[in-house]
Symmetry: C2
Subunit: 393 residues, 2 copies
Amino acid sequence: MLKSDFNFPFSNSMDNLIESNTSSIFNLAKSLENQGRSVIHLEIGEPDYHIPKITIDSVKSSIDNNQTNYVLGQGLFELRREIANYYKRRFNIDVNPKKELIVTPGAKFGLYLTLYSLINPGDEVIIIKPSWPTYSNLVNLFGGKIKEFPLSFKINQDITIFKSLLSEKTKLLIINFPNNPTSIMVNKNYLKNLVQIILAYRNLIIISDEIYMELTHDGKVNSMIQFSDIINRLVIISGFSKSFSMTGFRLGYVLAPFQLIKVLLKLVSNTITCVPPFIQMAAVHTLQLDEHIINARKFYKEKMEEVIKFLKDKDNISFPFVPNSSFYLFFKVKNGYESLALDILNKTGVATIPGIAFGENYKNFLRISITRDTDQLFKGISKILSFIEKNLT
Amino acid sequence: MLKSDFNFPFSNSMDNLIESNTSSIFNLAKSLENQGRSVIHLEIGEPDYHIPKITIDSVKSSIDNNQTNYVLGQGLFELRREIANYYKRRFNIDVNPKKELIVTPGAKFGLYLTLYSLINPGDEVIIIKPSWPTYSNLVNLFGGKIKEFPLSFKINQDITIFKSLLSEKTKLLIINFPNNPTSIMVNKNYLKNLVQIILAYRNLIIISDEIYMELTHDGKVNSMIQFSDIINRLVIISGFSKSFSMTGFRLGYVLAPFQLIKVLLKLVSNTITCVPPFIQMAAVHTLQLDEHIINARKFYKEKMEEVIKFLKDKDNISFPFVPNSSFYLFFKVKNGYESLALDILNKTGVATIPGIAFGENYKNFLRISITRDTDQLFKGISKILSFIEKNLT
């Protein structure tokens, strides 16, 4: 095709659009690989615990059974019913699969649709920090005004800050426990205290990203769904990528009051039509595998302990945030700086996520995902350490 | 969960959002089925020519080969390269797979992202009519101002109207040949004449939805990509749903200058992350099956001839648009009215799309898709005819 001498007149919305920082470092690492460099991927949240065999088998049998056509935009009823069963089993809470659930191609898309449907330019949105960069990216894209809520994960301290941020003008609160990038899950009492504050702000909508919910190392599972007083303005974003290692399947859901689901359904009908039925069928069977989750927890717990043990006496790094869930390690680097992750990638071939992606206050942090086989993982960590040793001290 | 006594304060963008009309009648038909009614689906554009065996096999082998992780947001390079090969084979045109292509979960999502990236409130968009309702829905969602371009499919008449609609203020033109709902493909001379007019409007961006491109009954395949003078402001939307019956796989692509692809890539990184790799791998193999397409054309051509032959002498219906491609029949009903399709569905259990979905001028039209097995198809058509006979004459 011709070289473009035409300037596309992009819409004003695009002025606030930036690429997802986690995606951009992944894309960069992949392109280095394509150029022949060997890269150790510690950047992406790609679980290494195996995908359940039944997941693979269900895709194959569903496709053999001709489940390859257009299906309902809301998602297969079988899957929505199974998600409802899951919440019943975990929390003894009744979710209406006909009205309170919609299936999405990944949790991120559920979040995108929810924020699109709710944010007007200028609306105030409180976002916890550190946090997944997509929250800020999307709120900025829709013109929302972000108020950062820096977490210490200590309830008294956090409550004081939370109160100081809230006003009648605050429209949305975005929370994420267990948290990415710190891998910290707070206890139920912490959540209860947050809810106590929220009760006083009756117009506040709570968006709770619970994608890492199952992967607590002690097996204690909590969800905002347990607080019935706020359930009429609670939006839960979740999916199958982390608990069941189904990242490439792109499957998530939104659990929310029908009023919101109805609007999301209209958006789905104008964007993606539906999610592949054979992928949805795989999730129907997968979601019943409580045993698999128990084993995944144990797997990540042991691996995290090993990593922490290895790193805890190192001079140039420290852990203000001690992980008790999932598989990220968010650590502080002495004399670290904004583009450190890029330098490490270019010089050592180890991909990590720069702390700045998760908030302005974390320029001297890095996030690694411990989801590589132990050899690669420790090889990568050692390369990071020697780079720091050589260049920053 | 609790009944909602909370009113979600939706964003102003949602004021202009309506459900896709084709999806809504499909959803209604599905819900009638769930209530135990038997429904003949003549509404949805679900090809009935078989999915290639290699498509099914490739999904299964890719998933067995662990192609189940996150991949590049732009799409697998293998697939982009194969799409470029395809355009080379068909039109001897070089497409740069690194820069000019992005893979999307369905053609609709490619269209959504493109229009989102380009339309500011108030921007003028010319849309051909009759046409797929998603064009108007999305332009309205983004606040664009629609100018309808009613087609006669006769070049002189259409050119005159086209000229009268264009101004320096026109930002976008959305075209779709072969056209849904009429199943009419225009000849290359028609397209050439359109392009001649477009050349005078150097700011106009052309969005060409070519999802039905391959399914011409005479096998002559034309694309806007053949007109090199406009290629720097041409966006082609296409996908695998119709040519290869891969509707439930949700796979499409956008072919456009790099400037636009870069922006779409940022949007993808904040919405869907990527498309399942095992689905993309299936398309890599499928796209090489030229023989399959030749057979599919023949299949739909013969079926369409049979339907036309059956319908051509009926008193109460007529065909202002004679199909020469794909599998829709858009016909006029004597004394037809806006909600006729709904009445037919409720009374006879045959689902069709109301003409109004495709444009204000087509209130007395219905669209049927002939993609059901012959028994069901003719049973459905007969029920429609006898409903019309009984109630409208």
